[in-house]
Structure formats: structure tokens, C-alpha cells
């Protein structure tokens, strides 16, 4: 009975986790930040409150906004949620994980970005265009880099389908590989860029000259904005758990052993918490880069990732 519904259960659990996890992680990061800067924090649930507030607010649409502008939030949210249904967070045994392997996953994120970018251009404002242009620059360097780093992992684990990768990595005994080290390094850099954190971008700014991701969203309001914000929070969460799944998967429940789940939950919470700490350290430690330094930053990430794959082919 449970057995046959187990896949559905685990999948829905996963989806719920992602939906809630995103805002929570962001809240956690903000809390930490406040503490480090010696401010009183708004609490763990603040992001969630923001989103719900936005949902009830009225939506204002620019006059010449087309259907692209209106549909973009839905596409973004849908795509991100799908990614959420694929990346193993607590259990490697996701029925939907086979829907899209890691390459497909990357391009699902790309799909979301594609529409955000179009939305930025749609209203024909100066800032929208600027945001789009910059975002596309970042992405056009970040995407290949992320692909390369995951390639390295998938070469090691002889698979590109996430659940099998996790399974493989958890089951075989651990050996330190230079290629993986490179890949991990690259991945961290890219994750920062992809999720629009300092030093690449600053999610909490609306200062015209520095913003990238926000610039595209300037015209959004109400539920559209809510969807996008929520999606970006989920994205942070997902990248974090993707990193976990690829580079430190220990603790994730393997193929059909539900008994493992509680431990897995605890493990993931701890890991995410640590990642949050890491993010905060980085963000308080560093300042935002000039826009064209970002290119070099990402170029380095790309280089590292390629080095990882090279070293796999040459050394291992």
C-alpha cells in the first residue's frame, strides 16, 4: 500500500520542501546577515510574508507590455518548480528525476532566464534593456561553466541522470579526485553568479548602475513579482541542494529506503544551514564587482570547470 504510493509521496514531499525551503533559506541568510551586521532580523519567515503580501496586492502593468511580459512569471515559476521536482534533495529515488537529466535541468533554468530577459525588454524601458543585456552576458558565461562542472561529475559517476549520479556517488567509496575539486570550485563560483548574490549581483539593491537581475524585474508588481521573487528564492535553494547532491551527497536517502528519510532531512537542513553561513561570510566579506569584472570572474569559473574535465580525460 505505502510501497506503491511511495514514489508519489516522496515526490510531493520534495515539491513541498522546495516551495517552502526557498523562502526559508533566504530568510535564514538574511537573519545571519542582520546578526553579523548587528541589526535585529525580521525573522525566518519574513520572505514568505513578503511573497504572500505581493500576492494580494494589485498588479500594475506597463501600457505597452505584451503577453510575453505577463506570461514570463508563470514560465519562470513553472520551470523552477520543475527543477525542484527533479533535483534530489532528501531522496535519490525521485520518479520525476528521470524526466530531465542534469543537462536538461540546466536548460530548464535557461528557459526561465530566457523569458525573464524578454520580459526585461518588453516594456521598452532603458533599465529593462540594460538588465537583459547584462543578465544575458552573465548567463552566456555561467551556463557553459555550470555544464562543464556537472559534466565532470557525470563523467566520474558515468551518468547524467541526477538520481543515478547521487546513487553512484553515495554507494562507491570516496576517493579524492582533482577533477572533482576543480568542478566544485567552479560550481561554487557559478552558483553565486546564477543566484545573483554578491559579489556578482546584489538582490537587495535597486541602485540602477549595479543591478542585473533586478533591472529586468523593475516593471513587475503584484502577483507577477511574487511569482518571480518566489522562483528566485527557490532557485537559490535548488542550486544549494544541487551542489550538495553533486559534491557532498552523503546522507541523501538512496533508492527506496524510506527509513533513511528522517536522517536525510536532518542532514540537508544542516548542510543548507552551513551553506547559508558560507554565503553570509562571502557577502559580508566582499563588495560587489564592477560589471566587467564579472566577466573575468565567470571566465575563471569556466576555465576551472574545463580544467576539471580535462584533468579527468588526461589524468584519470
Amino acid at each position: 500500500m505505502i510501497r506503491q504510493y511511495y514514489p508519489i509521496l516522496i515526490e510531493s514531499l520534495q515539491v513541498v520542501l522546495v516551495l517552502l525551503g526557498g523562502p526559508l533559506l533566504v530568510g535564514w541568510v538574511r537573519m545571519l546577515k542582520c546578526w553579523t551586521q548587528g541589526r535585529r532580523s525580521a525573522g525566518l519567515l519574513q520572505p514568505m510574508r513578503d511573497v504572500t503580501k505581493l500576492f494580494v496586492k494589485e498588479t500594475v502593468l506597463a501600457e505597452n507590455a505584451s503577453w510575453i511580459f505577463r506570461s514570463a512569471p508563470y514560465v519562470v515559476f513553472g520551470a523552477t518548480l520543475m527543477a525542484g521536482a527533479i533535483i534530489p534533495v532528501v531522496s535519490a529515488d525521485l520518479p520525476l528525476a528521470a524526466t530531465a537529466d542534469i543537462i536538461a535541468l540546466v536548460s530548464i533554468f535557461a528557459l526561465a532566464r530566457f523569458f525573464t530577459a524578454l520580459a526585461g525588454l518588453d516594456t521598452g524601458t532603458a533599465f529593462g534593456g540594460m538588465g537583459t543585456s547584462r543578465e544575458m552576458m552573465v548567463s552566456s558565461l555561467a551556463e557553459p561553466a555550470v555544464l562543464m562542472s556537472v559534466f565532470t561529475v557525470s563523467l566520474v559517476s558515468h551518468s547524467t541522470s541526477l538520481s543515478f549520479m547521487v546513487h553512484e556517488l553515495t554507494t562507491v567509496q570516496f576517493i579524492l579526485r582533482p577533477s572533482l575539486a576543480f568542478a566544485l570550485l567552479a560550481f561554487i563560483l557559478i552558483a553565486i553568479a546564477e543566484t545573483g548574490r554578491i559579489p556578482v549581483d546584489n538582490p537587495s539593491t535597486h541602485l540602477e548602475l549595479t543591478m542585473i537581475h533586478e533591472a529586468m524585474l523593475l516593471e513587475y508588481s503584484g502577483r507577477h513579482l511574487a511569482l518571480i521573487e518566489w522562483a528566485s528564492m527557490m532557485k537559490l535553494f535548488l542550486f544549494a541542494s544541487l551542489g550538495i547532491a553533486l559534491f557532498l551527497p552523503w546522507g541523501i536517502a538512496g533508492i527506496d529506503d524510506p527509513a533513511m528519510l528522517p536522517i536525510a532531512l536532518v542532514a540537508i537542513v544542516i548542510k543548507l544551514g552551513l551553506i547559508g553561513v558560507f554565503i553570509v561570510l562571502v557577502e559580508t566579506g566582499l563588495a560587489k564587482m564592477r560589471i566587467f569584472r564579472v566577466a573575468e570572474f565567470l571566465g575563471m569559473a569556466f576555465l576551472l570547470a574545463s580544467l576539471g574535465m580535462l584533468s579527468y580525460f588526461i589524468l584519470e
Binding site: T59, V60, L61, A62, E63, N64, A65, S66, G78, L81, M82, A85, A98, T99, A100, D101, I103, A104, S107, I108, A110, L111, F114, A117, L118, L121, G124, T125, A126, F127, G128, G129, S133, M136, M137, S139, S140, L141, E143, P144, L147, F151, L155, H158, T160, S161, F164, E208, L218, E219, G222, L227, F292, F302, A305, S306, L310, Y312, F313, I314
Partner: protein, 679 residues
């Protein structure tokens, strides 16, 4: 039930008849446009169907046409490979022909469309003949028929000097390429039967021929160079970004969508079929050039502000991607890895099919924009999404496929190529081993850049506000044009959603060439899941992705509908900026500025800012003029020197014709003496 071969040949005959009729009925334009395009559409369907059946059954049909030299009739052969390409030609030809019914109306009254119709049909016939021909002579004839007819199509609007220039460069490179191919055939024929008779010219004889490795390589290199020139591989691509914009859009759709593929067909035919097993470094060569073309192609594309030029460069990129896959297939075939070779080959074929469809769609869309606005430069376009309610979404579908985003078709084939990269085992030769990861990296970069490029195309052309000085009256195009684009867009989606069926269908081709297939393993875990080799290695389910997206979006949308919170329209906020004008938008040039900064080394960029100031005082400038000229290096590095050199030689040679009769007599005298001495 006629055999596939009969279907295809019937369509060829129809094409030739149409071109004849069009020549005769030259002064019933109105009627002619409808009739001839409708007929060609029908003929295309015939051909496509024939090709489809051939691939489906994996059958081989041969036929000998008793003309040509009496000792050397025209041999024809319809096998899975040619069948596949024929079905591509037929499919896109069908869409485009339907589209043309509307598109050519734009020319009526301005100029006679008779030449266009004549050469358009010869062009289609020529491509089919190339795919059918089975001996060197007939192949060359069909090849040049294709080339020359398209050459006349390129400068259909012949008053424009740039068009003529484009056509000239095109035909020159095409002809040189053709001669190279001819030379390679010469080698093969020589080893097949010597030159005591004409029987060495048939492909079957060449297949039999035993060639020493050196000569085989020379022959392959020659053929490859020739075909690469046609395919527009960098550095032989220069004709492509000139010719495609110059040609009428329906023609550029065909040229870019299918003509380039015939070159790939040639390489596969020679490399896999006629040469037997390829040598490993051939694969390496093809792979390397493919990579270069892919990356540089898309980079150059990003710099363009002319829609059709941009699309043309993106064709260079896609051909590069196809070559990457073909190169991998060659390497695997050399290593006798049947399945992997089949995977790479299938990826290549699939991507050709996809590229044909979406690039055709995009060019048709560009044509629609051109037709509606008479404007090709994106700098003067914008906001068309409000005026062209049909074209915009269709074009968007094309862009999504071209930038390899799920669930559209472009993604599937590129995914397969990535898979074949990741499945590569250790290879012979350190160079290749380096090439594989670099290749993967380059491909990844290409895909990302492509997405960037197509955001630019769609965003600048269709979104925002009209950038032109005065807002011209723009109307949506008529139904035939829409129909053509709709069909293309639908097939983009379907090819993306049901990859298993497609792969299962085209599996006959790799089966016949590399003796392996992935048709079975691909749908091992049901039609829903695409698993190229095994579910453990990789899996992708396009239908689910599609359904999921539709579901989520639909659900959310209806939730909000149900809550019925009103949406208020207001002027764009833009951080409180006031008096927004359409000149404040980002333009195509400014969009691509970051890329220009990052990848500047790849171009020759000339920027100039001139300050126009009132009354000479530079303190209060009236306006700034910004001029930008971005060209690819290849022209200056490779072509200019050659042409200058040949003119230099020409001048030297001209001095021979000195004008003084005594000198001429002296030539004869010296010749005589020299000959007498040296014999």
C-alpha cells in the same frame, strides 16, 4: 502504391515542368504565383513522403537513366541516407512553398517573379537530384545545377549592387568547391578503374576501389574542402552571410535550411559510404572545424544588427554543431564503436532535421517582418508583437528551438550531442583526447551564446517600441505566409516532444552506415522516456516537461483568474524616469555591447564617436554620432590577400602583351631556341 523512388522522381519531373511553365507563362504573374507555388508544395509533399518511406523501410532502390555519355549513363540510387535528406528537403520545401504563395505577392507589380519561380523549382529539383545521383558525373551536374540556380536566386533583385556582389562571391566559392569535389572524385575513379574506360565514375565502383591510405586521405580532404565550402564552414563561410540576406526570404529559408545540408550529405556519403571506414584524424579534423565554426559563427551572429545576416551566421553555427556530431561519429566509427557512432550520427541527422525546420521558420519570420515593414535592420524595428499577432509567437517558437530550450526540438539534438561527448571513451591520439572536453566546453558556450543571440533578435525586433524614425503602417501578413510558419512552428514543437519516434524512424541511416543503431535502446523504457543508451546513463522525457509546464502555468493562471484581482495599466515606471521616448531603448548594438567587450579579440572592431557641436564651440555639443563597424577577421586575413595577389600576378602577366611586334617575334624566337636546346 508507387515505390518511393517513383514518388521522388515524379516530384523532380513536376519541378522541372513547373519551371518550364513559369518561363512560358511569364506574363500571367498573379496566376503564376498561385499555381506554381501550389504545385511545388504538392511536389515537395510527394518527395517528402517518398523519402520518409525509404527511411522507414530502409530499402535501397537503384535506377539507370540512359542519357549522359553512352558509356556513362546517369546512375541513381535511393537509400536510407538520401531518403532522410530528401524528406528534409521535401518537408521544408512544402512549408516554404506554401509560404511563398503569400510572400511573392510582395513583388507583384514591382518586378517579374518569373525568373524567381523558374530557378526556385530548378533549385529544388537540383537538390533532390544531388541526393539521388549515384555516379560522379551526374552528381556534379546536379550539384552545380543546385549551385547555379541558387546563384541566380540570390541576386533576383539584380539592381542592387550588393546583391550582385554577394552572388558573385557565392558562385565563385561554390564553383571552386565543386571543382575540388570533382578532383576528389577523379582520385577515387582513378583507383576504381583507371582511365582506360569510363566505368570508374560510378559510386558503386568507387565503393569497391582499394585505395592506399595517403590517396584516400587526399581524396577525403579534397571532398571535405569542397563540401565545407558549400556548408559554410569557417573559414569558407564568407559567402554565406552575404548571400542569405541578399536572397528573397523564401529562398534564404531553403538555402539555409536544406541546401547547406546537402553538403553534409556529401561528407557523410564520401566519408562513411564511399571511403568505407574513415581514418580517425578525419573525424578529428571535422570535429575541430565544426567547433571553430560553431563558436565563431554564433559570436559573429551576436554582432549583427541585420536580422537575416544574424540568422545566416547562426546557420554557420548550427552547421558547425552538425559537423561536431559528424566528426564524433567518424571517430567512433573508426574505433568500431557501433552504438556510439550511431548515437553521434543520429544526433547529427536529428539536428539537421531540426535546424532545417527552425531555421526555415526563422527566415520565413524574418521574411514576414521584411514583407510588412520593408526593414531588415533591427535598429529600426521594435514593438512588432503588438502589430503582428501571429508572426511574433511563431517567430518566438523558432527562437526557442534555435537556442536549444526544452521542450522544443533544438534541445533534443544538442542534448544527444552532449551525450555522445560524455560517453566518449579514451581515444587514440592525445590530441583527440584533448579535443573532446574542449569540444564539450565550446559546444556549451555556443548553446549559451545562441540563447543570448535569439533573446536579442526577438526582443529587439518584436518587443519594446518601434525604433524607426516614423512609425510606418505595419500589418500582419496574409494567411498563406502564416500557414507556412504555423506548420513549421508546430513541427518544431512536435519534433521536440516526440524524439523517440523520430529517432526510431531515422535509425535506419546509422544502421546502414556504421552498422549500429540506437532505435531500440532509445525507447527501451517506453515512448515517454528518451534513453539513448541506457536509463542509468541518461534520460529525458520531453512530453513530461511539456505537460508539466502547461499544467503549472495553466493552474496558476486559473487560480489567479478565479481570485479575479484586477490588473491596472499604467505608464512604464522605469525607476521614475519621465518622458520615455523610443530612442531611449536598448538597441541591437547596445544589447551586444558586453559580448563585444568580452570577445573583442574575435572581431575587427572600428568604433568612432564624432561630436557635432553648434557654432564650433565644443563645450555645448549638439549631438554625438557613434559609428561602429564590426567585421570578422577571416575576410581580411584569408580572402583579401588572395584577390590582391591574383591581381598583382595579372598585372605582371599583362606586361607580356607589350604591344611591340618585335618583342612578340622575340618570344617566338626564344621559344623556338629553348625548345631546340632542350630536346
Amino acid at each position: 502504391m508507387p515505390s518511393p523512388f517513383e514518388l521522388v522522381s515524379a516530384s523532380i519531373i513536376v519541378f522541372l515542368c513547373i519551371s518550364l511553365v513559369s518561363a512560358i507563362l511569364a506574363n500571367h504573374q498573379q496566376f503564376l504565383v498561385k499555381l506554381s507555388n501550389a504545385l511545388s508544395a504538392a511536389a515537395c509533399l510527394l518527395a517528402a513522403f517518398g523519402g520518409f518511406l525509404t527511411v522507414l523501410s530502409g530499402s535501397v532502390e537503384t535506377f539507370i537513366l540512359p542519357i549522359g555519355l553512352p558509356d556513362m549513363p546517369f546512375y541513381m540510387r535511393l537509400d536510407a541516407l538520401s531518403g532522410f535528406f530528401i524528406s528534409i528537403v521535401g518537408l521544408l520545401g512544402f512549408f516554404v512553398s506554401v509560404y511563398s504563395i503569400g510572400y511573392l505577392k510582395g513583388f507583384l507589380g514591382r518586378r517579374s517573379v518569373a525568373p524567381l519561380l523558374v530557378f526556385y523549382n530548378i533549385f529544388l529539383a537540383g537538390m533532390l537530384l544531388v541526393l539521388l545521383s549515384d555516379d560522379a558525373y551526374f552528381f556534379m551536374i546536379s550539384w552545380e545545377l543546385m549551385a547555379v540556380s541558387s546563384f541566380f536566386l540570390v541576386f533576383f533583385e539584380d539592381e542592387k549592387v550588393p546583391n550582385r556582389r554577394a552572388a558573385f562571391i557565392y558562385v565563385l566559392i561554390a564553383h571552386v568547391g565543386a571543382v575540388l569535389i570533382l578532383l576528389s572524385f577523379g582520385i577515387m575513379a582513378g583507383f576504381a578503374a583507371g582511365f582506360e574506360s569510363f566505368h570508374g565514375y560510378t559510386f558503386s565502383a568507387m565503393r569497391m576501389a582499394e585505395m592506399p591510405a595517403v590517396w584516400a586521405s587526399i581524396a577525403f580532404i579534397l571532398a571535405f574542402a569542397g563540401f565545407a565550402a558549400k556548408a559554410g564552414i569557417i573559414p569558407l563561410h564568407v559567402w554565406l552571410p552575404e548571400a542569405h540576406p541578399a536572397a528573397p526570404s523564401n529562398v534564404s529559408a531553403l538555402m539555409s535550411g536544406v541546401m547547406l545540408k546537402t553538403a553534409v550529405y556529401g561528407i557523410i556519403r564520401v566519408g562513411f559510404d564511399m571511403m568505407g571506414t574513415p581514418q580517425w584524424w578525419w573525424g578529428g579534423l571535422v570535429l575541430a572545424l565544426g567547433l571553430v565554426s560553431a563558436v565563431l559563427g554564433i559570436l559573429y551572429a551576436l554582432m549583427q544588427s541585420d536580422i537575416k545576416r544574424l540568422l545566416a551566421y547562426s546557420s554557420v553555427e548550427n552547421i558547425g554543431i552538425i559537423f561536431i556530431a559528424v566528426g564524433l561519429a567518424m571517430v567512433f566509427a573508426y574505433m568500431k564503436l557501433g552504438t556510439l557512432a550511431a548515437l553521434a550520427m543520429a544526433a547529427a541527422l536529428y539536428h539537421m532535421l531540426n535546424h532545417a525546420v527552425f531555421k526555415g521558420l526563422l527566415f520565413m519570420g524574418a521574411g514576414a517582418v521584411l514583407h510588412a515593414t520593408h526593414e531588415r535592420s533591427m535598429e529600426a524595428l521594435g514593438g512588432l508583437i503588438h502589430k503582428m499577432k501571429w508572426t511574433a509567437p511563431l517567430f518566438l517558437a523558432g527562437c526557442l528551438s534555435a537556442s536549444a530550450l526544452p521542450p522544443f526540438n533544438g534541445f533534443v539534438s544538442e542534448w544527444l550531442i552532449f551525450q555522445s561527448f560524455l560517453l566518449t571513451p579514451a581515444l587514440p591520439g592525445r590530441l583527440l583526447n584533448l579535443l573532446i572536453p574542449l569540444g564539450a566546453a565550446a559546444l556549451a558556450l555556443t548553446v549559451a551564446l545562441a540563447a543570448r543571440g535569439f533573446v536579442k533578435v526577438f526582443g529587439i525586433t518584436f518587443l519594446g517600441q518601434w525604433r524607426g524614425r516614423h512609425d510606418t503602417h505595419v500589418a500582419e501578413v496574409d494567411w498563406p505566409m502564416r500557414a507556412g510558419m504555423i506548420m513549421a512552428a508546430l513541427s518544431c514543437l512536435l519534433l521536440g516532444i516526440f524524439p523517440n519516434h523520430v529517432i526510431g524512424w531515422l535509425d535506419a541511416v546509422p544502421m546502414s552506415l556504421v552498422g549500429g543503431g540506437i532505435g531500440e535502446t532509445a525507447k527501451a523504457s517506453g515512448w515517454l522516456w528518451l534513453t539513448p543508451v541506457a536509463a542509468e546513463r541518461a534520460s529525458y522525457s520531453a512530453p513530461l516537461v511539456f505537460v508539466w509546464l502547461v499544467l503549472v502555468i495553466g493552474v496558476l493562471y486559473f487560480i489567479f483568474r478565479a481570485r479575479g484581482v484586477s490588473i491596472r495599466r499604467a505608464p512604464a515606471w522605469d525607476c521614475g524616469f519621465e518622458k520615455m521616448t523610443n530612442r531611449m531603448q536598448y538597441t541591437a548594438t547596445s544589447m551586444s555591447m558586453p559580448t563585444r567587450r568580452i570577445f573583442g579579440f574575435a572581431f575587427s572592431i572600428r568604433e568612432a564617436v564624432t561630436v557635432v557641436s553648434r557654432r564650433g564651440s565644443s563645450l555645448f555639443p549638439e549631438k554625438y554620432l557613434y559609428r561602429l563597424k564590426v567585421r570578422d577577421h577571416i575576410w581580411n586575413f584569408a580572402y583579401k590577400p588572395v584577390s590582391e595577389a591574383s591581381f598583382w600576378i595579372a598585372r605582371r602577366v599583362g606586361k607580356l602583351q607589350h604591344g611591340r611586334i618585335q618583342i612578340y617575334l622575340l618570344y617566338s624566337f626564344i621559344t623556338l631556341v629553348v625548345l631546340l636546346v632542350f630536346s
